[in-house]
Amino acid sequence: MGDARGHLDLLLLAALEKSPAHGYAIIERLRARSDGTFDFPEGTMYPALHRLEREGLLASKWMENAPRRRRVYSLTRRGQTALGREAADWRRLSRAIEAVMAGGA
């Protein structure tokens, strides 16, 4: 899924838009919402999550959920803005591609 990897940042931000989640839950959301289409190596998400956090688009903290603690990620205000901007760019691109495909049919 090379296309999915190229837009991984957008997918991660979108997955966290409604509520915070830990890593495995984020993957489950992406899989459920895409009906199984997005199915990349799950570990590749973590470097991206760390990078988005460094860039200030995500925040994370340890949550002490018995029996173990887990890292939960949430969208920051900057992340909300970035998500809005990336989503708009994606829709514009998607419409343009659809238009070209329709024209060639």
Binding site: H22, G23, Y24, P41, E42, G43, T44, H50, R68
Partner: protein
């Protein structure tokens, strides 16, 4: 496969363990591991975080080495050196130019430290080059400072001979700062 940066490493491992436990509950352990991905490839993806961590460590270590150099080689000589036999402004040229050179190269080192710290966030490669410049400059200061100390001891009777060794001793913290620099460089190379 993960370099030694304690907090970052423990966080990565904790998140990985948590993820695999959750996945194993649904899919079984083998499928969970397979879906997680190849460990080496994943460890390589953390290279930017590690490059930045070690670059920050080496930049601060270079700053501490520079502070150590000043601390050891200014107040100590000032308090142990016997009076010079030459009048004010009459210092021999072969001592004077070396002292000026040490001061100038030290300023280069401090400037490079500043560049290293400022460029850490956005330009790790620039930060690494600046730290390398700082450490190289401090090494020049240490060696030149030792030469000055040795020649000063010959020119001024009663000057303790250990001053030269003190100057060379500052190469130790400089060498210690070089270790995280090398790790940062190795991690940064994986980014290409």
């Amino acid at each position: 496969m993960l370099p030694r940066a304690p907090r970052l490493r423990s966080r990565i491992l904790a998140e990985t363990q948590d993820h695999l436990r959750e996945a194993a509950r649904e899919l079984g352990p083998e499928a969970a591991v397979e879906r997680f991905g190849a460990p080496r490839a994943l460890a390589r993806q953390f290279a930017p975080a590690y490059a930045r961590f070690y670059a920050r460590l080496s930049a601060y270590a270079a700053l501490v080495a520079g502070a150590g150099f000043v601390t050891l080689l200014y107040p100590i000589p000032e308090n142990v050196l016997p009076p010079a036999p030459w009048p004010e402004g009459g210092k021999p040229d072969y001592l004077a130019w070396k002292q000026h050179a040490v001061a100038a190269v030290f300023l280069v080192a401090i400037g490079a430290c500043a560049v290293a710290l400022v460029s850490l966030r956005r330009h790790v490669a620039v930060s690494l080059l600046a730290t390398l410049t700082a450490l190289a400059s401090l090494s020049v200061c240490a060696v030149l400072g030792a030469v000055v100390s040795f020649q000063w001891a010959e020119a001024v009777p009663g000057t303790p001979g250990w001053l030269a060794w003190l100057s060379l001793g500052t190469l130790l913290p400089i060498g210690l700062a070089a270790t995280p620099l090398a790790r940062a460089w190795t991690a940064a190379r994986q980014l290409r």
